[in-house]
Each structure stands twice: as structure tokens, then as C-alpha cells.
Amino acid sequence: MSVHDSSLTSTRQNGEVSMSTTPETEKVPVFRTRDLAVYYGDFRAVRDVNVDINGQEITAFIGPSGCGKSTVLRCFDRMNDLIVGARVEGKVEYHGIDLYDKDVDAVEVRRRVGMVFQKPNPFPKSIYDNLAFGPRLNGVKKKGELDAIVESSLKRAALWDEVKDRLKASAMGLSGGQQQRLCIARCIAVEPDVILMDEPCSALDPIATARIEDLMQEIKRDFTIIIVTHNMQQAARVSDRTAFFTTEVNPESDRRTGVLVEFDFTEKIFSNPGDERTEAYVTGRFG
């Protein structure tokens, strides 16, 4: 379990994998996957995923529908455990620890690796209680401490000014964009070090989307962010690194398996991709 002091990028061309190492001694991979594959029953949804996710960076997963981006994302907080029949093979390391080790408690993982979902899902309770839920579970009881956490989380999620006078109001009364920022604040309240975002803006209008993108840039100083997005421009705007996935049709079963094609700095993916499939996708020729 040594601290890796270089980050790994891989490209796949003509079936061969080539590795290039870029010495960046100050960046430590928060996640590292090796030959990650996810099965639902017998069906292999995604295969051979090798990525390193670095701290204080925004990593984007892009690709056409069904390529497994959300599936891979949900490996990082063990949300796939909730699906009956889901099986993870290969290795997922979090700060060097095998995330699927039997001594690792998924509940604790989920505190440290937060998730924001496609459709905002605030609890049908007050704004205050939405935010206080997590900290209360972790033993914070005193009103003063909870108040402080609620305020700081809302401030960091750029929502404080809009709701500070109605913390006791129901969260369901907020607009879509506000609800999503509330969900982000809810994650922040338990002090994670990673925030996973599964198409967080797809249910929001462009203005709300822009605010969340700005928010992501602000908070990436404190959190590692992985975002799955359908929106290529968003990935290009927001992320530091990008992983491009695509689907392969299995000729025998006629089912599609997702596969990681290329993973590199965002600039490179969008301006000079190494794989022709990546190029076809980012230039809009397919997907």
C-alpha cells in the first residue's frame, strides 16, 4: 500500500495498451482501478476499466448510452451493492485500500465518497433536516454544531443566501437547480473527500446547469470530483481529465458491453485524441 506518486494514463490502440507515466509528485490517486469489470448476473456490463482518479481534480466519464459510465461510477461508492445480482471483478483501490475488501464497511465508504444523482432527490423534510441528517448519524448532536455545519455546507454549495431565512421550510419547495445544490450541500455536510456526480445537470435548465458547473470549479479544491455526463461540452468545460467509454457488441449474444477506450487530459481527448473512436465521438460523428 504505497503512495503512488505518478499518475497513469492509458490509451488503447488496435487492441494494445500502452502506458505513459507523467511524473506529478504532488498528486496522489484517490482511486485506482485495475481490470475492473461489472456483471449483472451473467451479463457483463462493462469490462477492462483501468483509470487513476487524482485528488483535487475533476474527472469526467463520457460516452454513448449504455457504455457503463454510471455503472463504473457506482463502483466507487459501492452503490452497485444494492443491485441484486451485481458483481464487481477486478480491483478498485481507494487511497490504496481494496474497496471491496471484506473488512471495509460500505456505509463508511459512502460517507467519504458522496453521490449526487441525476434527478435531485432531497428528503421530504425541511432544508435544515436534509443537511443535518448525515452529521446526526455521525454523532453530532448539539444544536450549535449542527447549525454551523448546515450553514457552512450551504455556503459552500452556493445556496446559503437563497435559503437562509427559510431553513425550516420543506426542501420540496425549492426549484430543481436549488434542490440539486441542496443535494450537493447534503453531501458536503458529512465531509467526504470525493463527490461522485451522475449526470447532475441533465434534469436542469441551462442557467441552473451553469451555476452547478461554476460550483464544481469552486469546490474541487476540497473534493475530488468524478462526473458522468452526456454533455460533451460540459466535460470539456469543466473537467481536468476525461475518460471515454464506448460499447462493443458481443457477436454471440448480441448484447453490448461497455469498455474504456481512452483516458487522458481533457485537452488531449478533445483536441488530439489517440483513438479513432474517441475522435469520432467528440467530433460528433456518432453517439
Binding site: M1, Y94, I97, D101, D103, D105, L137, D193
Partner: protein
């Protein structure tokens, strides 16, 4: 966030033991609760079978096919009870099927939403009527007014027909509600296709919607039959034949069903006698009843689940 840099250990990703223990404990509690339902079924089967078998082994077989059901005197003619049950169920279905289907079809396909909201509670109230009340209704109203009118007074004060009608009333709600669910499960697009071809409502309902929901309708009927077979109190009050009954196929005379026979055996002084053959016959009939209704329910359930998901 104690490890911004530096080595992480697996133990960093352990949950507070209080919370973990609490979670595990509650999980076991819920599992145990669920397992009790299995225990109940097993107990029922065991209890019924044990004494039913003992009865069956000990009873002189000739006594099972004789002139009637008089358990305290040693006459255990099962077919009396079965025929009684069939008659009551048959008459009940004569009432419940047209009413139940009619109500369901009307509420689902013809009634406007506001009318529906108003009229549906009628069925819900009907569903809530306790069976003893209907039993009393059978002897105080159905028999004197309706049955007598039908056969011109050739009926006795207690008879199968009156009980059958009351059981029929009892069964209307279940047929109506399962059928209605089945009809509403038929996709709107099917109806639209029919209207689009110029068909009117009645042909659409009877030639398109009903056939599409047929398995649900059949399920409703099966569940209705099962309900009618299992009804006890109405028959205990209205069909007479408390101490026993001669074999009879005349619905206008008193009669005995499986359930009423069980009720007669199960309470009062016979309990004190405890383990006599008469008392054990209670379990024998109970076992037969349980098996009948179980098979019917499994069949009906299978069909219902084809119509809608789970419950």
C-alpha cells in the same frame, strides 16, 4: 478527514461499531418477523394433518359414506358436507358473478370519474359487512321475503338457498375489485385502437377489453369461489342443521357445509370431550378445506400476478 496524505488502513473504512451492531440487530429482528409467517403456515399444516390423519386411520371407513353427517353419533358422511358446500357456493356464485362483473365493468369502463368516486364506496362498504350480520340478514329478510316468494313457501326457516344468497352478497366485493384491477390494467392504447376503428363503447368493452383481461377475470372468479367455500358464519346462522344433516340436494331445506360443520364441532361442549372421534373430524374437514382453498388460491394468485405486479 484525517488522512489527506499518508497511508490509509482498512480500519479507516470501518463503521462505528454501535451503528453497525444496531443495523445488524434490526436486520435480524425483521428477518425473524418474516419467518414467523412461515411458522404459521407450517403450524397450520401440522396441526390439521396430525389429527386429520389420526381420524382417517381410526374411523370405520363405512361411516364415511352413509346417510348423513352426524358426528356425535358416529356418522361421518363427508359427501353431505361437500355437497352442501357446493350448493351454497353455487348459489352464491349465481348472485356474485353477475353483480360483481357488472359492477366492475361499469365502474371501470362506463362510469365518469365523479360518478365512480361516488359509487365505488358502495362496494367498499359491502366488503366490510361482518359475516354474522349478513347471516342474520339471511334469516330475517332474505328467507322470509325472497326465498319464500321464489318457491311459494315451500322452504324451511333455515335453508341452503338463503345462506347461499347471503354468501353471494359477501362475495361480490372480491370479484368486483379483482376484475376491476384486471380491466384497468388493460392498456389505454388497446381501447384507442378500437375506438379509432369506429367501434362504440359496448363492443369495445366486450370484444377488446374483456378478452384482454380474461386471466384477471378468471382469477377473480376463482378467488370468489375460494371465499365462498371458506365462509362460515353465514351458513352457521342461516343454513340450519346444527347438530348434523342428512344428505340432501334440496337447497330449500336446511343443510350443512364443511365450514359450518367445523364451527358446530369446535365450540360448546364438544371441546370438553377433547379427543373423541367426533372432535377429530373437525381437523379432518379442516384439512380438506385447507387443501381446497389453498389450491384455489394458488391458482387464482398465479393468474392475478400475470395481470399486475406482486400484490
Amino acid at each position: 478527514m484525517a488522512h489527506a496524505t499518508g497511508q490509509w488502513q482498512t480500519t479507516d473504512l470501518k463503521l462505528s461499531s454501535d451503528r453497525r451492531r444496531s443495523d445488524t440487530r434490526m436486520r435480524w429482528l425483521f428477518t425473524a418477523a418474516a419467518l414467523t409467517t412461515l411458522v404459521v403456515t407450517l403450524l397450520i399444516i401440522f396441526i390439521l394433518f396430525r389429527d386429520a390423519w389420526s381420524f382417517f386411520v381410526e374411523v370405520p371407513k363405512a361411516d364415511l359414506w352413509t346417510l348423513g353427517w352426524f358426528p356425535r353419533r358416529g356418522y361421518f358422511d363427508v359427501k353431505t358436507l361437500v355437497v352442501g358446500t357446493l350448493m351454497v357456493t353455487g348459489i352464491a356464485m349465481l348472485i356474485a358473478v353477475p353483480l360483481g362483473l357488472g359492477v366492475a365493468i361499469y365502474l371501470s369502463e362506463f362510469a365518469r370519474p365523479r360518478v365512480r368516486k361516488f359509487l365505488k364506496p358502495i362496494i367498499e362498504i359491502l366488503a366490510g359487512i361482518p359475516s354474522v350480520v349478513l347471516g342474520y340478514f339471511a334469516i330475517s329478510f332474505i328467507n322470509p321475503n325472497i326465498i319464500t316468494a321464489l318457491v311459494g313457501g315451500a322452504n324451511k326457516a333455515f335453508n341452503i338457498a338463503a345462506a347461499g344468497v347471503a354468501v353471494g352478497i359477501l362475495t361480490v366485493p372480491i370479484i368486483a375489485s379483482v376484475t376491476e384491477d384486471a380491466l384497468r390494467a388493460v392498456p389505454l392504447s388497446l381501447r384507442e385502437a378500437s375506438y379509432g376503428l369506429g367501434a362504440r363503447r359496448v363492443p369495445t368493452v366486450f370484444r377488446v377489453v374483456l378478452p384482454a383481461s380474461i386471466s384477471g377475470v378468471v382469477a377473480a372468479l376463482i378467488l370468489g369461489i375460494s371465499r365462498a367455500i371458506g365462509e362460515t358464519m353465514v351458513v352457521a346462522i342461516a343454513a340450519g342443521a346444527v347438530g348434523g344433516g342428512l344428505f340432501s340436494t334440496d337447497p330449500f331445506k336446511p343443510g350443512q357445509t364443511m365450514t359450518a360443520a367445523m364451527a358446530a364441532l369446535g365450540f360448546g361442549s364438544d371441546q370438553v370431550a377433547g379427543d373423541g372421534l367426533a372432535f377429530q373430524s373437525l381437523f379432518f374437514i379442516g384439512f380438506l378445506l385447507f387443501v381446497f382453498t389453498l389450491l384455489l388460491n394458488l391458482l387464482g394468485d398465479r393468474l392475478v400476478r400475470r395481470v399486475r405486479e406482486e400484490y
